[in-house]
Amino acid sequence: MECPNCKAVIPKKDLKCKECGTYLPWIDPETGEKRYVPNYLAPSILVTIFCCFLTGIICLIYATQVNGRLIAGEYEKAVQASMNARLWCWISVGAAVAYLFVLVMMYGAFILAIFAGGVLSQ
């Protein structure tokens, strides 16, 4: 897709141009149908119950806003909430990966300390 304002290329799933901040029109001129604004409810639940729940709650709060704003006709606000929900889902995944990384490093340091200690005490 192409941005109607600055003609930059917009990825298929995006609803807002990253270059100039223009929103794509709600009704797709090609199909004549309203664009799908994802609410990320399923990933939010996945994150909350399977991953890092504190940020998962933030994802869920944004997810709840998407459909409400769509019904109120506030398309651009709905897209904003949708993008925030996606961002916080990814932050949750990142936090989980960072936590795993820290744990692995701690295990590594622990094992290393045992070996080093064994060598030094001799």
Partner: protein
């Protein structure tokens, strides 16, 4: 000259990352591969008795249960066909699985056919209800009074 070369290498990496992130099929298969790998590990090794699985940071810090506590043990039980044990570990996880399965099916259709299944939860009221249920569930499973202790893992 080396500076310019480094910049182009960085730019290439950025472009490559952006392409990978925007490639729905790549993301789909990545997610699928990770899930299958997770399922195999989870089937083979029992959580709670192995150092393979990380402890829940919230539980380790506060001693309280979060809405996700018991999920791994519950999934392990489910993979071995013990539904009642899974319900005992984390009932909300089991209840959310049909919805997550539907969402996964819908996303699969979107990735390969460009179409989605109709949204089953459309009205904002139901989404708010899910949020409220999760928060109430979180509080309830930490209350040490008999009927609520069933919810704890």
């Amino acid at each position: 000259m080396t500076g310019a070369m480094k910049e182009t290498a960085l730019q290439r990496l950025l472009v490559f990352t952006e392409k990978a992130v925007n490639n729905e099929k790549l993301k789909f298969f990545g997610f699928l591969a990770l899930s299958l790998l997770g399922a195999v590990v989870l089937y083979r090794f029992r959580p709670g008795g192995s150092i393979l699985y990380p402890p829940c940071p919230f539980h380790a810090l506060t001693g309280l249960y979060c809405p996700g506590c018991g999920t791994l043990r519950g999934l392990h039980a489910l993979l071995h066909g013990r539904l009642l044990v899974a319900l005992d570990y984390n009932p909300l996880m089991v209840l959310s699985l049909p919805f997550l399965g539907y969402a996964f099916l819908s996303h699969t259709l979107f990735v390969f056919r460009g179409k989605r299944l109709p949204r089953i939860i459309n009205h904002p009221r139901w989404i708010w209800l899910i949020l409220v249920i999760i928060i109430i569930y979180w509080i309830a499973r930490n209350v040490p009074v008999y009927p609520l202790t069933i919810l704890a893992p």
